[in-house]
Symmetry: D2
Subunit: 277 residues, 4 copies
């Protein structure tokens, strides 16, 4: 199990969201509440957009809670769109190339969950990756492979369809090997402009996922809360588990759903895997 | 808070005691039960004696639970006397020079606890270290400084007296600064032949410490238990919290007590700090 | 031996100076030319100023040449004033708390050189550190101790005098122990506005140090050079050894000299240690 | 470029061979002489056999020259057969799963060299790996993939034939992509009893490889040399470049040759890739 956070809104210093809230993501690296595993100490990562084309990324292999570089960088990097992830390995090695968010060109990807019995299906899934993309795979996780499958299936053109085809392939492959409950995922991906997030599992009991309530509504409820006061009108957070201490600030993403955070109205739709033809 | 384990007995592979028992020390790195902090993920260390004069040590800065080198080494290093320690930093940096056990010549030292408001008394305590020993201090922890104070006060000649004088100096110094509850410690130290362990705190509410029941007695109670079967007659373990699942296998070290594991009869005596004169 | 670089001028992405020049600082981590040791692979660091009060720092314990985080961060962090350092340890541990630049409040400090027989004089020098500053020492290097001595002697008020008193104390202490050639240093320090650099050694054979020629002069000589074109009029670099391939771009700092980079005219003056009274 | 060392003979402490000789392997991590790259600072590893079935391995991602754990372990681990390797990455990530020696069951494998334009042929080569072995690939290097191809082709039954088929497949694959000079390798592999070493490159200009002269002959020549005195009669070393300072101690392995170190007479034969049928 892992925990992650995606932010979009007016530029903020990363530490405003990673460190300062009660039950912050960094706290969750030591004491998560909603999950199989309370400790997420097997590495971490942040990815952020500034002016340049390609997002910055910073990965560490120690626990996030004690990483001084992360703390320093978070206090000096400001961004209007960033991802943060803390990892609990399900068996693959603790190394930077296995840390989320993964990056390809302008795109970032992060994941909480797993492909069941990954070692049995890994080879078949790797063969499905576009040969031109194949050399860019650097780590050994199911999460990164899911990213490259989604890229293969057109993530850069139509993210919901690409992720649906990826999920469909994983399920079909697992079925061929007689593996139940093939896929468990909450995923976020972005091109630096829009953020797509997905909550899905084959058994329809997916890991938790929440998005933040409209800031204007929160201002009425909590005029004095520092986080709320800080936030811009269009600020949006998507998180594995709620930060802060505001009861009404978080809305659970329904089972088998994806959402898009974008200029104009956000969108939330039903997610359904597309089996390979 | 940290957790530690000291073993003396017939030579065993380290992993027999570090990995194989239920609720092993490695498990405790993620989920300790008896302590302020359940996660001990800020580095680890083992120290062991083989034929050579100076004990071997291996330190790592990541969590013990995921360290493949520790796992590999533990499966290939066999020793009749070894220390193992998992660290939860109380603020000082996560780096190898802050990992226990600390070594000086033939001696090893490891500690669970802390000196209250260490930053305020650190300078005074450092000045009390023998100038000839001073350059050998490599890290920044209270634990290592306690070791060097004990060495200054004659650890190599009379360990209980040296540790008592160290504790007395820490308490006297804290008192001068108006600091309450100066010292909290469970300590183990060894010269490769005998093992001394100490349970003490200024407020007389010391961290937990246990030693293993006589193996012969355990054999009657649990003839089929693999750990008990494996153990030699003279095998002794001292641990921050019990391993395994045997109710009668562990005896709590009383408050303000030290023990000696040695050839012939083991010893347990009252521990009392010796104030500086 | 280490290598370092200090930049002041219009904001630039760090990688413009750390990676892109021929014989860049990152190249020097593997193949330095002017020094006792050609490999500087024992950690690295950057410190940079943005809007916030305290500069950002990023330290790594591996070689700079292979560090992907450094490469990523350098391509996304832009600053008008930054320090970069690559380390070749002279014996002390390779750990983040021993990486330059060191930071205290608004101040940064980095060093190339050493205190002769540091282990013999370390204790005396540590005693000379202001007790209020003492707890902020985190590592074990001579370089960091020199910083805290300079802070003790008024670095924040009068840097040249404070560094002169630090050097004087080191030399006086060494003399007391019968140690020759006490100090070897090229040092840079900054408060985020001005940059002071020092070249000095007791034996008057100091490590190399260079500052960049006036950019306007260089433009006449090398109108097509990308580094020169990029540079703002007031851009200044101070480096352990020249970057790039322009013969006329660098001026050697004379022996026993310090310089100040500041708004208005830069300054270069004779440096002489001030012995303790 | 990397450097490696394989030892077989009477049990010795690892540090006798890794640290004590002049121009030792650890020295070569900073200053190799015979190679494209003089610095081998991108991780290291040792693998050794003791009583247990599976060899021990220890991998580190920093430079070998500064690693205190390696130094400590080398002074406490004694073995009759061990491999040691220092790495200079040719582009793949610096992480433990990319460190040599690689292990599979009882087998160890280490490599100096590279597959030309590896990113272009990697996918095809991975598809050739036995699907049952595929999940055990953990890193991203050409070296590890060569190991798994050799395992696929029967390394455990007939090492020279398996390595020849691996080399043949690499060359045939490269040819299909129009890549010249496909393979450059010096490889050592062992099952804990015998050691096979290979020197080969498609262009027939292979990286250097040497084996040690018969110890009895050396004793006549250098009766006082400590390394020679220490060595047992059957001691054999295979190294990327000579250790120590004895002119007559080393014999170059000829181009396109493999050797076997074993009980009874050692063997040296011509090596020729076997193209896929």
């Amino acid at each position: 199990m892992c925990r992650w956070l995606a932010y979009s809104g007016a530029p903020v210093l990363l530490d405003e969201l990673l460190y300062k809230p009660t039950h912050s993501l960094i706290d969750q690296s030591r004491h998560a509440r909603l999950g199989v595993e309370t400790t997420n100490g097997d590495g971490f990562g942040v990815g952020w957009y500034t002016g340049s084309e390609v997002p910055g990324i910073f990965h560490g292999i120690g626990p996030a809670w004690g990483d001084r570089n992360l703390q320093n960088l978070s206090a000096h990097i400001s961004s209007p769109l960033f991802f943060a992830h803390i990892r609990a390995s399900t068996g693959t090695a603790v190394q930077e190339t296995n840390c989320h968010p993964f990056r390809y060109g302008r795109w970032l990807w992060m994941h909480n969950g797993s492909i069941a019995q990954f070692h049995r299906v890994k080879r078949d899934l790797m063969l499905a990756v576009d040969p031109d993309l194949f050399p860019a795979i650097e780590g050994s996780t199911d999460s990164e492979l899911m990213f490259f499958l989604a890229l293969t299936f057109g993530l850069r053109e139509d993210p919901p369809a690409a992720v649906a085809r990826m999920a469909g392939l994983v399920e079909a492959t697992a079925q061929r090997y007689g593996i139940d409950d093939a896929l468990q995922m909450t995923v976020a991906t972005t091109d630096g402009v829009r953020v797509w997030s997905f909550r899905y599992s084959t058994e329809r009991r997916s890991r938790s996922l929440f998005y933040s309530q409209d800031v204007r509504a929160l201002r009425d409820l909590y005029p004095d809360n520092p986080l709320v006061r800080l936030a811009s009108d269009e600020a949006r957070l998507i998180v594995s588990e709620p930060l802060g201490d505001l009861q009404d600030a978080w809305i659970e993403v329904p089972e088998s759903t994806y959402g898009i955070i974008q200029e104009g109205d956000d969108v939330m739709r039903r997610f359904e895997p597309i089996p390979p033809t």
